[in-house]
Each structure stands twice: as C-alpha cells, then as structure tokens.
C-alpha cells in the first residue's frame, strides 16, 4: 500500500527528475554564490587574509570615493550612448532589409559577421590598430583634410571608441528585429499607403507600435549587457585616459582578481546589480505606457 503510493507520486512527478541536474547547478553555481556575495559585501574579505572585519564600510566607500562614483557615472554614460544607438541602428537596417530586395541574405550576413567575431580578442586588437594615432581612421580623416585625432588620449574619444565597438555589433538585435518585422501584416501597409501615408509615417505609426514588444525585449537585454561591458574598456582603452573609460566592471575585476579584495568587489557588484534591476523594473513598469501587446493577456 505504502509502496504503491510512493510509486504513484513518482509517476506524477517524473518531470521533476529531469530538472534535478539543473536544480543542483542552480543552487551550487547561482544561488549560493549570489547569497554569499551579499554576505561578503559586508566584510573586508581578502583572498589571503580572510575576514577580519564586518560592517557597511564597503558601501560607505562606494558612495564617497570619487574614483568609484566616477566609474558608475562612466558606466551610465556608456550605456546611454551605446544602447539607443545600437537599437536605432539595428532597427533601421532591419527595416530596410525587410523590403523585398534582391540579395538581402548577403547583406544580412555581412551585417552579422561583426557580432560573431565582436567578442573576440582578435577584434579588440583590430580596434586598437584602427584607432591608433596613425591608424586606419586617422588615415581616412587626414585624407579628407582633417587633423589626426588622438582617440585614446581624450576622454570622449576613448569612450566613443568603445561605444562604437559595441554598436558595430548590432547584428543580433537586427536579426531579432527583422524576424519581428516579417510578422507585421502587409495589409496594414497597403491600407496606410492608400490613405496617403508616406514611408516614414508608416514606419513610426504602424511598424514601431506593432513591434514594441520586441523593442522592449532588445532594450532589456542590451541594457543588461551594456552595464556589464568589460572587454572593450579592458582591452582597447585599458580604462584610460585617466579613468575616463574605467567602467565599474573594470573596478570589480581589479578589486577581485588583482587586489584580491573580494569584499569590496562583491559590494560594487551588488550596487551594479541593484542599478540594473532598478532600470529593468522601471522598464517593465513603463511598458504599460508604450508596449503594445496584440493578445489581451500580454505574455
């Protein structure tokens, strides 16, 4: 009797056995590190000397230290330039590709290649060659009569270089937009053009509203990525000049893996996490105002 009910419970919950491996990994590699990092953030954990002090000193330092505040400010600045530019570019190109043009697949591939390679060190090296004082960009600039720009030596120039590196990789967002645009019914465009609406009006009054859920999705994913950007500033500009491209991810890396100050690194990571969460929450709340879901219950 007892045995039968156990096997019945087993049969009813057989799906649970399939997710057990994930659940183990989830607890071990996600929940435990996540929770322990919150604890570490209130300590002075050093990899070699351990914990000798607890308290809120890390957070006090984060909100008073000029270098750390600047790193957060630079991260914001980076995201403010990077995310809208990348999304606008991706949507614009996807919109053009969506017209029935010959050779669309060729262009789609060409635009997607930077996204495939963009994360690799090879591209960071290329970027340094291209934006070198004597590099490709400056050769073109001087050809057109301009003056050489010392990209890596000016604060805005260096930031521009790493923003451009990521905007250049708009391929994934573009492909997602393109799939969404394919789903917009032709009838709507026809009806609008009969009513005399031009292409731009159609774009802003029909296309954009219908694909707002996808814009929203891309916005959230790009935002999360931008706030964590590491490779560009770490490899191309090395955080310089004078900390102008030292994003918070660089500080976290330096604290954790160069100075072994795990407590401080955890606190900075948590502040970053809370900022990203807040922005995501704001986006989710604001979506009622601007995101249009065709089915009533949303998703």
């Amino acid at each position: 009797m007892q045995k039968k009910s156990i096997s019945k419970i087993m049969a009813e919950n057989v799906g649970f056995f399939f997710v057990i491996p994930w659940l183990i990994g989830f607890c071990l590699f996600k929940v435990y590190p996540f929770a322990s990092s919150l604890y570490y953030s209130f300590t002075n954990y050093d990899l070699f000397t351990g914990i000798t002090k607890t308290g809120i000193m890390n957070y006090q330092k984060i909100f008073t230290n000029d270098d750390i505040i600047r790193a957060f400010a630079v991260t914001f600045k980076y995201a403010i330039f990077d995310v809208p530019m990348k999304l606008a570019f991706a949507l614009f190109i996807a919109y053009i590709l969506n017209f029935k043009l010959k050779g669309v697949n060729f262009f789609r591939t060409a635009y997607y290649i930077p996204s495939i390679l963009g994360g690799s060190i090879a591209i960071a090296i290329l970027w340094r060659a291209v934006f070198n004082t004597d590099g490709l960009i400056n050769t073109v600039v001087t050809f057109f009569g301009g003056e050489k720009i010392n990209w890596m030596a000016s604060a805005n120039g260096a930031l521009f270089v790493i923003v451009l590196l990521r905007v250049w990789q708009f391929g994934s967002a573009m492909v997602i937009f393109l799939a969404a645009l394919k789903g917009v019914s032709e009838d709507l465009y026809e009806a609008a053009s009969i009513d005399g609406a031009g292409k731009w009006t159609q774009f802003f009054k029909i296309t954009v509203p219908i694909i707002t859920p996808i814009i929203f999705y891309n916005l959230i994913t790009q935002l999360c990525q931008a706030f964590q950007e590491f490779n560009g500033p770490f490899l191309v500009t090395k955080g310089g000049p004078n900390g102008a491209t030292t994003l918070i991810s660089i500080l976290i890396y330096n604290n954790a893996f160069l100075r072994h100050k795990m407590g401080m690194a955890s606190a900075q990571a948590w502040v970053l996490f809370l900022i990203v969460m807040t922005l995501t929450a704001v986006a989710f709340i604001s979506q009622k105002k601007w995101v249009y879901y065709s089915d009533e219950d949303g998703r």
């Binding site: 919950n13 057989v14 799906g15 399939f18 997710v19 491996p21 994930w22 990994g25 989830f26 071990l28 590699f29 435990y32 996540f34 990092s37 570490y40 954990y45 190109i93 053009i96 043009l101 262009f107 591939t109 060409a110 997607y112 290649i113 930077p114 495939i116 390679l117 690799s120 060190i121 090879a122 960071a124 090296i125 290329l126 970027w127 340094r128 060659a129 291209v130 004597d134 050769t139 073109v140 250049w168 994934s172 492909v175 799939a179 969404a180 789903g183 996808i214 959230i220 999360c224 964590q228 590491f230 490779n231 976290i252 954790a256 795990m262 690194a265 990571a269 970053l272 996490f273 995501t280």
Partner: protein, 283 residues
Amino acid sequence: MTREQKAKISAVVRYAVLVAIGFIMVYPLIWMVGATFKTNSEIFTSAWFWPKNPVFDGYENAFKSYGGKINLLTSMINTYKVVVPKVIFTLISATVTAYGFARFNFKGKNSLFALMMATLFLPQVVLNAPQYIMFNQWGWTNSYLPLVIPSLFAADTYFVYMLVQFTRSIPKELEEAAKIDGCNALKTLWYVIVPMLKPSLVSCALFQFMWTSNDFMGPLIYISDMPKYTNSIYLRMSMDGDVGFQWNRILAMSLISVIPSLIVFFCAQDSFIDGIAAGGVKG
C-alpha cells in the same frame, strides 16, 4: 513622377544605404586581412587594404612562440579543450531540463521555471568573485573545470529557455503514440523529442561554440599557468607583451584565431539566424 519611377528611385536609395553601411561594417575586417601582409609602416600610412609589397613574415612569426611552453596552435587547442566538452554537456543538460519543464507537470514547476527565467537577468559580474572563491576552495582554479563543469548542470539558462520554446512547438500526438507503444519518458525523449529538436540543437551548439571560443573573462580569471592559456588570453598576452610591436604578426595571429569561427559561421549561417530570431521573438 510616376509611381514606378518613385519605386525605382527608392529601391536605388535603399541599395545605396545598404551597400554604404555594409562596406563601413566589413571594411575593417577586410583591411585586417590585407594588413597581415604589410609592414608596420605601411599599416599606418595606407587606408587601402591591398598591400603594395606583400610581406609574409607576419605569418611566419605568428606560429613562433614568445618563449614559454605555448604558441598560437597550442593555445587554440587549449580553447577547443574547453569548447568541445562544454558544447556537448550543454546540449545534453539543456535538452533534459527543457524536456522536464516543457512536457511535465510536477509540484513547484511554475516557481522553479520562474526562478530559472530570473537567472537570465542575473548579471554574471555579480557571480564572478564568489564563484572564484568557491572554485578556489575546491582546488579547481588554474584548470578548465570551472569553465566546463557548470555546463553539465545546464548553467547557461539561455539554452534551456530556447529549447523549452522549441519543445513546446512539437506536436504532443507523437509522444502519446510513443507512450502507447510502451516508451517510457526517457525513451520518448531520445526517440521522439531529440530528433524533432535537431535543428534547434544545431543552433544551440553553434552559439555555445562561438560564445565559448570568444570567452575572455572566464579564462582570464581562472587560468594562470601559461601552458594552459586559451587562445583569447594568449592573444591578449601577445598584444600587451610584444616588444617592438610587429602589427602584422599580431594581426595574423588574430586572423588565424578567428578562422575556425568564421568557417563554422559560413557553413551554418541559416541555423544561426533562425536561432536568434526564435529565441528572441518567441519569448
């Protein structure tokens, strides 16, 4: 102006925009190929990609070691020592997990699924330091274990999510037929679901291949012995350490490093594009 003329003009404008932007996008890569055959002085004086007097020492030197027990080829082999097991483990663990979530009801399923989705938004940067501390206590640092083992447990949630979406689109009748024929859940997964999922599994494998090949942060944190360097940290070391900076050598090394990824991409680009579109849009 007639309607046809207007349509013609706008088509020309669209092509012009596509070509111009496409050119700007891809030119740095073309220039890079040319630059591997140039001398330093030509690299920094000419914007034209074609080398005037091609030199090949970039490629000759690319395979030479900087000293230490590592060179370009061994670093690439190291990379694939991480990539290959990680791709295989991810496919297995993500398929099994996705099957459990997509096809069964069990106690607490919805809350577990919500938790899994939440980890999609959990920034890796929060986990780096505590994960390092944990792997360090286990004695796993300076090995590939921290990079590979989590994938046995479906740690890359994105793939689970993608496969859940695809599994849901498979008609249930097939599984019911298999059940009537006496297949248990595991057999059904292997003989019914996996064959149906094949195209999506291909795109998961491709993405994991690319992402792991490009991964920089992971090896940077965990690998400290030079002979174990993966390609990404080996390139970074060359970039920072090359005395006198022979750009053609560094660029040739970079180019050789991305060739496997490029070949994979060109052989399977449709799977890529379908994969992103499905993963993004079905959400």
